[in-house]
């Protein structure tokens, strides 16, 4: 009954004509959160792999943090999907009896592959030796948790550690295409919907991928700048500058691809162009033009150019980097919003626009999504407690 009233309210705000069933926005804020979170996973992992595969030595201090960040977010990634289902208890069907023709059914495979084969394995081999050592040093519950986590492994001979290192490298090499797959696949879920011209584009997986890399690098940078001082360490400026330069390039690539997509649409000027321009200039003006492009992309780009050109001093640089990564996070979240919500704000009749009114308290409401965005940080805090990314001397020495 309440929904019916809400819809009746919304129906008054419809501009032009929409199909009668279109008043309900089916993919709500939760589905905005989902690609945002998986994007952070893929991006953080790519940053980690820069260290192992491409031997970017300066990034070493962020390596373990990036892995743990990716894991913390990946563990929470299925939650928004789960909560959004009309029949949440049937979600196991996706894993056990998928329809192989469906892009969404690939979720089970991609997710399990990425979680089990890539992330958990890499983290396990990376931390195995340390877990054994820490386990022998500690007592009580922690000792046993670490023992179970290390699967009661005991061998810390040089040969065994060398094997770990080699395995980590191999897994990282498999991991890069897997990270591409993880987020490219999320883009494909949207990009393959031919009924929706805002989504239907071969560029979609690519745009998703690069925005993922941008957001992932930015979140690790953000966490690094917060956690190190909390743990009483010193921020390694060389590392930070390097991460920032990768972030800079990633933003440029991401921006170019998005501009290319935009120009392509405008130039082809297909049937849907009228309604899409109306969408961008009215309903999405704030979130797309202002938040995503101006504040989330051009402003951070400008700041980073200033930092590079004027070689600002350390403290100012830190402050500006911090402003940048916060802006970028907001920008990428807007990107997800504009794709997911934006794609549902116009009618498939191309004759009208509808409105999305976010709930506050419901399952698909604002509070739940905020919780879903906060939980990964809690998970990360536990992971960091259990598997510290930095040794004491690393923290002090920088």
């Amino acid at each position: 009954m309440e929904t019916a009233q809400n819809f009746a309210e919304l129906a008054k705000q419809v501009v032009g004509f929409i199909y009668p069933n279109e008043i309900e926005i089916h993919w709500s804020i939760l589905i905005v959160v989902y690609p945002y979170i998986t994007g952070l996973v893929a991006g953080a992992f790519i940053l980690a792999s820069l260290v192992k595969v491409f031997n970017v030595k300066e990034l070493q201090p962020t390596y373990r943090l990036a892995l743990l960040t990716a894991l913390a977010f990946l563990l929470i990634a299925p939650l928004p999907l789960q909560l959004h289902l009309g029949q949440p208890w049937r979600s196991y069907e996706i894993f056990l009896t998928p329809n192989l023709a469906s892009a969404m059914a690939m979720f089970g495979f991609v997710y399990l592959w990425y979680l089990m084969v890539v992330l958990l394995l890499e983290i396990w081999f990376e931390y195995r030796r340390d877990m054994i050592v820490w386990s022998s040093e500690s007592t009580g519950l922690k000792k046993w948790v670490l023992k179970v986590l290390s699967l009661f492994s005991t061998d810390i001979s040089e040969k065994a550690v060398a094997f770990d290192k080699k395995t980590v490298k191999i897994i990282t090499i498999i991991g890069i295409p897997s990270a591409f797959l993880l987020h490219g696949y999320v883009g494909f879920i949207f990009g393959s919907i031919k009924a929706n011209p805002w989504w239907s584009s071969v560029m979609m997986p690519v745009v998703f991928l690069f925005s993922a890399i941008v957001s992932g690098i930015a979140i690790v940078m953000f966490l690094y700048m917060i956690i190190i001082p909390i743990q009483g360490g010193k921020i390694d400026m060389k590392c930070l500058d390097k991460v920032a330069s990768f972030l800079f390039y990633a933003v440029i690539v991401d921006f170019s691809i998005e501009v290319l997509d935009f120009i392509h649409r405008l130039y082809e000027s297909e049937e849907s162009i009228k309604i899409l321009s109306q969408l961008v200039s009215t309903k999405l003006f704030m979130s797309l033009v202002v938040l995503q492009i101006l504040l989330g992309m051009l402003l951070p780009l400008g700041i980073m150019v200033v930092i590079r050109v004027f070689r600002l001093q350390e403290e100012l640089r830190k402050l500006l980097y911090f402003v940048c990564v916060v802006l970028i996070q907001m920008g990428i979240f807007s990107t997800r919003w504009n794709v997911v919500i934006g794609g549902q704000l116009f009618s498939k009749s191309f004759r009208g626009l509808t409105t999305y009114k976010m709930e506050l308290t419901g399952i698909e409401g604002l509070l739940v999504s905020l919780a879903l965005l906060i939980i990964p940080f809690v998970v990360l805090a536990i992971l960091i407690k259990l598997l510290p990314p930095w040794k004491k001397e690393e923290l002090a020495g920088g």
Partner: protein
């Protein structure tokens, strides 16, 4: 062979065992715990189709009506409503078919039901009969003039309408639609051949209208007046035009 297994580092063995166990659990769940219907698309399809097919029918279909009712379908057969299904107006009637004595279908008798189809709407195809309910004999149910099982416009004799077409048209949508011309105008046969020299009669007294509209003489719903006080100076048609809607 034994040497080969020994060469694998112990941590790799642990991982492989863990993964093997997980894979086994997944396989067992899928193979032995999941019901067959979930796994076999053909089986699932069939059971879903069965469920769909078992749903309750609400509209019985026009054939069912004809099995008991003879008069109306027969009447409908040749009229303008011949293609109209009984349940279009009488509503879903499967329950009535199952239990003809206890459940009766609805029978819309008011104007507003006919107006679903016959009110004027500029999007309706040209030639489809449409009316403006404000000017087309308002307040009277459509079925007083039109038989829904064989609807026709009320006919004025062609012999009058041939010359008095305008009067015919206005009268057709007025309260007096069903009153034949000759009730008020007695018309000599010669009027047809010499319309100007031999003219029909016109009512000449207030009492003529009073036969129906005087207080106490009217039928149900008929507007009546007190002949003694209602505009006693005048004859009725000085203020009312009897062919026109509302008689005004």
């Amino acid at each position: 062979m034994k040497d080969f297994f020994k060469k694998i580092p112990e941590q790799a063995v642990r991982i492989i065992v863990l993964f093997a166990v997980l894979a086994l659990v997944l396989l067992v769940v899928r193979q032995f715990i999941l019901p067959l219907e979930l796994k076999d698309p053909a089986l699932q399809k069939n059971s879903a189709m069965e469920r769909e097919a078992a749903k309750e029918v609400k509209y019985a279909g026009a054939q069912s009506c004809g099995q008991c009712h003879e008069k109306e379908p027969e009447m409908k057969k040749s009229g303008y409503h011949r293609d109209l299904s009984c349940e279009s107006c009488h509503g879903a009637a499967q329950k009535h078919v199952d239990n003809p004595t206890d459940v009766k279908p609805t029978s819309p008798k008011k104007r507003d039901y006919c107006s679903y189809c016959h009110n004027y709407n500029s999007s309706r195809p040209t030639g489809f009969p449409q009316i403006n309910p404000d000017t087309h004999n308002p307040r009277k149910p459509c079925i007083t003039c039109h038989n829904p099982h064989n609807p026709k416009p009320p006919k004025t004799p062609r012999s009058c309408a041939a010359c008095h077409a305008e009067i015919e048209r206005t009268k057709a949508t007025s309260y007096h639609a069903l009153i034949e011309c000759t009730v008020c105008h007695s018309t000599p046969e010669k009027h047809k051949t010499s319309p100007r020299t031999v003219t029909p009669t016109k009512p000449d007294k207030r009492e003529f209208c009073g036969k129906c509209h005087a207080k106490g003489s009217g039928g149900k719903g008929m507007p009546t007046v007190d002949m003694a006080t209602h505009g006693e100076k005048y004859v009725c048609w000085q203020c009312h035009y009897p062919h026109m809607l509302g008689g005004i």
